[in-house]
Symmetry: C2
Amino acid sequence: MYLCLMYSSELIKGTLKTIILNLLRDKGRMYGYEITAKVKELTDGKIQITEGALYPTLHSLEKNGELETEKEFIGKRVRKYYSLTSQGQETASQKVNELADFMNTMKFLLDLEPKLGNA
Amino acid sequence: MYLCLMYSSELIKGTLKTIILNLLRDKGRMYGYEITAKVKELTDGKIQITEGALYPTLHSLEKNGELETEKEFIGKRVRKYYSLTSQGQETASQKVNELADFMNTMKFLLDLEPKLGNA
DNA sequence: AAAGATACATAAGATTCTTGGGTATTTAAT
DNA sequence: ATTAAATACCCAAGAATCTTATGTATCTTT
């Protein structure tokens, strides 16, 4: 039996962009705080994106043309909604496919199940 | 269809220790160059561990008591064999289990297949 | 009134990888 | 014979990305 409260940080490294892009593809648009909350909820707290990691990543994705933003006021508080550009759509597909392929390869490499014919 | 010559480096980050520990658990003992060659072979070139990443990781694992080494001379050339300590055995199991769990979570999070009951 | 949740953001430091060296021996090709 | 490629180790500057800590401000619940 194996218990795990939260994954070691090194494991999550490199998957953050993929997680964000895929969530946005699914939900249409989200704001930063919402993303961290949703990921935490969906993973039973096993993946907790810190804001120090989230916001720089969102900004970099926006700067790179993958995301676009619109501000909205909730009362006096600003909320910044992010959504995928068409380029972001493509990148999201690519990254998810690559990660799926990678996980297949890792499964084989770690001998976690008999070889499946890594198509 | 999805083609992939080599995974983006960011994806591989954080799995290097796990790959090394698991290989050593399987093979008993290996030397550095052999590890890179084996991983490249097993993954059809999709994961290529550079020596700049490999050796610092091996040294750090040794320093941390997970690995022990013995030198052998092949002609005039030194070869440094690495093997798991008993602590390394435990760490290897832990890390492989954690990665398997993580990949399950990621599959669910990325909606790559219907929910399996993430036990 | 205070505490906690919501919501954004930045920055110093740590970690880990990439890139580009360096040294040296052995084997295969020209 | 000589060159190129493979084997085999290593280090270090720089880049990328995350952690940790901090800052500001509003809204909601106790």
